[in-house]
Symmetry: C2
Subunit: 399 residues, 2 copies
Amino acid sequence: MPFFSQTVQHIRSSEIRDLMKLATRPDIISFAGGMPNNDLFPVAEVDDIILNMNPDIKKMAFQYGPTSGYPPLLETLKKYLKSKGLPVDTHRLMITTGSLQAINILGMEFIDPGDLVLTENPSFIGGIAVFKAFQANIKGVPLQHDGIDTEALEQILETEQPKLLYVIPNFHNPAGIIYSMEKRKKLLELLKDKDILLLEDDAYNELYFSEKARQLSKPLMAMNHDGVTMVYTGSFSKILGPGFRLGWMLAPPDIYEKAQIIKQGIDACSPNFTQVIANEFMKKGYLEQYLNKIRKEYAGRKQLMQKSLKKYMPEEVTWTEPEGGFYFWLKLPQHMNATEILKESVEKGAVFVTGKTFDPEAKRNNYIRLAFSNMNKNDIDKGIQIISNAIKKNILVHS
Amino acid sequence: MPFFSQTVQHIRSSEIRDLMKLATRPDIISFAGGMPNNDLFPVAEVDDIILNMNPDIKKMAFQYGPTSGYPPLLETLKKYLKSKGLPVDTHRLMITTGSLQAINILGMEFIDPGDLVLTENPSFIGGIAVFKAFQANIKGVPLQHDGIDTEALEQILETEQPKLLYVIPNFHNPAGIIYSMEKRKKLLELLKDKDILLLEDDAYNELYFSEKARQLSKPLMAMNHDGVTMVYTGSFSKILGPGFRLGWMLAPPDIYEKAQIIKQGIDACSPNFTQVIANEFMKKGYLEQYLNKIRKEYAGRKQLMQKSLKKYMPEEVTWTEPEGGFYFWLKLPQHMNATEILKESVEKGAVFVTGKTFDPEAKRNNYIRLAFSNMNKNDIDKGIQIISNAIKKNILVHS
């Protein structure tokens, strides 16, 4: 049971499951869950879509669909991706059951046991879990305030031959950063004519807080990437709702062909019911309207959190102010153990996720991830105060 | 790329993909697709559910849910499964993204490359594809008119140690048969105290055409199966709609625990949006009402097809009249090649799936599967006449 044992080891070692339980305690302030805000979902718009749907399309929503996706949604999504500069004419688009499934399919397609896979450190826990499940040898490349450490990457590439590099250039989960233009160019340059698949996960692309961030958030795949084999993944989870379980993958034709055959054996097709709704949601112009609303809300929450962090955190704690997305990523002093801080915070009424969870080697633990997306806004200040106090207490003990 | 290469080989060798293309030609009569009828879906009931849904539940439908499933649906489904005699108190229930995902998860949990996996011959193509993807050594055990050939199975078990046996006891896809009580008992007896997982796929359970068939369709897992480790899978695809992508798995606690961790890394959770609707569909009593309607419709279609088959088929062609489900499984004379018959039929305007597709070793090809679920009812007679003529022509050539 090779798959299983490694996956278990990884997920068990993370504290996510226990945290999720804590996070549902009614009195606790949770910065843990990386999910959209419950009160923002476009419920009325989706009601309207369902009520006014053509009866034949409605029937189709109940039926199996093509493995690659509901054709009208593929067309609508292509137009949208084209507007972002993505190469939808030379590449092929596939709807997946969440973008996590896209990563899974690529794992199945590319990774043999023992293959070297590079991720950023820290990285998205779901991606790490997939690569572990396929028994990859995972190496983390340090992430800096402006993107992946290209010098460290260059050094690795001098002596090793990774199969795949997995990156999240925009509004990173968990690190909250966005890649600079310089880092983007340097990364593509480093990978040019090397036989390494570059997997770009862009789940947070639309959640920018400023025009500057919007301009910078252009996908890597929309840049000139001659000589670099790339797959781009995106998701409806942040722009409509995770409950739809819809993501997508834009890939070169040969990778797409194999991916489609693999998906056929995994779940035959993604839910037609939610694909039909997602298509109408985009076609009716609800998406842009909804995005304007949520960008404003999340930017406001980020401001509140930034203010509270500045007010309460000791100077030993540092972070990069996010320009989009859901997360603050706090660096604690080297000696500190985030798990200790978590225990103290939970006791006082606030939870978050410890840094170790996002370290592909599950070692480094002097970081914490704070999501500002889905708690009661009025609790942000109190929650940050609790966590700050836990950190200060720990500093005192060690000084 | 071990997974990939074997999957491709399997799926490419089947003709399903080409057939699906043919089946969409407007003038062709298709007995190919194993899908529910488009015009029967409970569209009005689902509209009613969405319109009258509690706003808080509606919001939740957009959000991530627990990996094991939307808790109210798990409760509702447990009551339903309990009414079928299934051991929901000693076993654990998990919602999956279609029941195909359940088979995938078990493949991941149990199968190492080279492991022996037994299936019926013929068997469900999706199941075969999963076992091939995990590089199992698949052996088909012949299926008879009343269930698996227990003598052949006994013989295999004398010398070999399979990891898993996959069966579809009720309204088999593709064979259309139901296991006799004798075969059910004998099967459980043979597996007693052997270290073999018995995987029971019961996707068609509700689609019986008579009271006798209803009584016989009691799940194997609802019988005394002391000493046999079992997992039971079911699906909303045939009782609500495949577009919902919802199935389930009932498993012993230790298998469930591992399955949950694996599912977390595959797609985090199944679509909450469709789970919320499925729960209301059952709770409001729409399910039983819908089942009564579709059982009657499919039974009527079966009658029509049986009549036409008797009218047109040469005596060399034999079949077991189905007591439920979607399929007739026709045995042609030994020397005949179903692919030749298919070519001739397509030319004259009717498609079906050749037997080889459902043979785990992709050899035997003197069978054809005819689905009566989703074509225009008035075309059944004409379509069967076309296929019968193709067979008769082939008999003449060979005599």
